[in-house]
């Protein structure tokens, strides 16, 4: 239900604000990463949320264990939930399991990467480099596309409004 509503919101918001950018993907071993993106931040803002899809094409489960970026003092993996109208965000110290043959979405309203202690603001249209470390597949360099603050979903070409 939560998933459907988030998709609906994305469908409504994106067509109005979208300036499509090219889709970008990364792979490491059996792990395929789809379009990491983040939102622009204010000059005085010290955190940013990062979102992406992670697909495990392997036959055994893997785990996103940690992340880092030269643009942030620390990068954490978080979950976000709504509980009786109250937003709750928690750090996942053990990371996120990516089951075999499945895709895990990190998206607004749920799981996300959190950039903490930004070295400089995230500028719209920019790219934020980061390293994602998987338990089995190893480490992979990715870049998060900086989208407008109003974004609720990745702005890959042909992806908006789904």
């Amino acid at each position: 239900m939560k998933f459907k509503r988030a998709s609906l919101l994305a469908g409504l918001v994106v067509p109005v604000l979208a300036t499509p950018v090219l889709a970008h993907n990364f792979t490491i071993g059996k792990i395929a990463i789809g379009h990491p993106w983040t939102r622009e931040t204010a000059a005085t803002q010290s955190v940013g949320g990062g979102f992406l899809n992670i697909r495990n094409n392997g036959k055994t489960a893997d785990r996103l264990v940690s992340a880092s970026s030269p643009f942030a003092a620390e990068v954490q993996i978080h979950t976000m939930s709504m509980d009786g109208g109250v937003m709750k965000m928690r750090q996942l110290k053990d990371g996120i399991t990516i089951p075999a043959g499945q895709t895990v979405e990190l998206k607004p309203g749920g799981l996300h990467i959190m950039f903490i202690g930004l070295k400089q603001p995230f500028k719209k249209g920019g790219q934020i480099p980061a390293m994602l470390k998987f338990q089995k597949a190893g480490s992979v360099k990715v870049s998060f596309a900086v989208q407008p603050v109003g974004s609720a979903a990745p702005m890959e070409a042909g992806h908006a409004g789904h």
Partner: protein
């Protein structure tokens, strides 16, 4: 006159229903009388619920250092949201939605103010929240306050706020804030008109806003 036990079951049920209805009407009349007498003559037409005190009084500091109170906001409806700038998801999403609602209302879009209250005064200074709300491409009144001032407005609006350490092993370290994520819609007289829930459909949110500014 037959004893009540002799009456068919349907008859008893009908009488019970009637009694309940009479009790409900009496209670309603009593409430109307009570609140009507309590209120001033000028706003006797206002529905009972809308006369309940809500939100105020409060005093906060705006992004430019000015004082913001329920009095200074009065005269124009407003949509008020509580959050903090170090919130990577719900806060930017909600403020963006609010900016979009204003656009979607067309000519009625400027008939309400958007107010963002930071509940993280330890880290969000007035200038911080000012630069934060500038991101959203629509005028947003940003405010914060002392712990005591924020406790007051939170109590008024019934807003839940709780600091939670990001790492439970380091209670004095970095923290996040659990907080109520709904948007409160206040009318020009400072009464609660409605609440837009975080998961509510955009069409419902827009209907509620149209009712607010209509």
């Amino acid at each position: 006159m037959p004893d009540i036990d002799d009456m068919p079951a349907g008859g008893i049920a009908a009488i019970r229903k009637l009694l309940w209805l009479m009790a409900a009407v009496a209670a309603l009349l009593g409430a109307l009388l009570y609140f009507g007498l309590e209120g001033s003559g000028a706003d006797k037409q206002t529905p009972v619920a809308a006369k309940m005190p809500f939100g105020g009084p409060f005093e906060l500091t705006g992004a430019d250092g000015s004082v913001l109170t329920e009095q200074s906001l009065a005269g124009k409806p407003y949509a008020i949201f509580f959050g903090f700038t170090r919130c990577p998801d719900v806060c930017p999403t909600t403020l963006s939605r609010m900016a979009l609602w204003r656009k979607q209302l067309g000519k009625d879009g400027d008939k309400f103010n958007i107010v963002f209250v930071s509940v993280d005064p330890a880290r969000d200074k007035p200038a911080d929240i000012g630069s934060y709300v500038e991101l959203f491409d629509t005028p947003i009144i940003a405010a914060t306050g002392t712990d005591a001032q924020l406790a007051q407005i939170r109590k008024g609006f019934g807003v839940y706020v709780k600091k939670v350490p990001l790492d439970p092993a380091k209670p004095g370290g970095d923290y996040t804030i659990d907080h109520t994520a709904g948007v409160f819609l206040m009318d020009a007289q400072g009464h609660l008109s409605s609440i837009i829930d975080h998961h509510e459909a955009e069409s419902t949110a827009l209907d509620k806003l149209r009712m607010l500014v209509g």
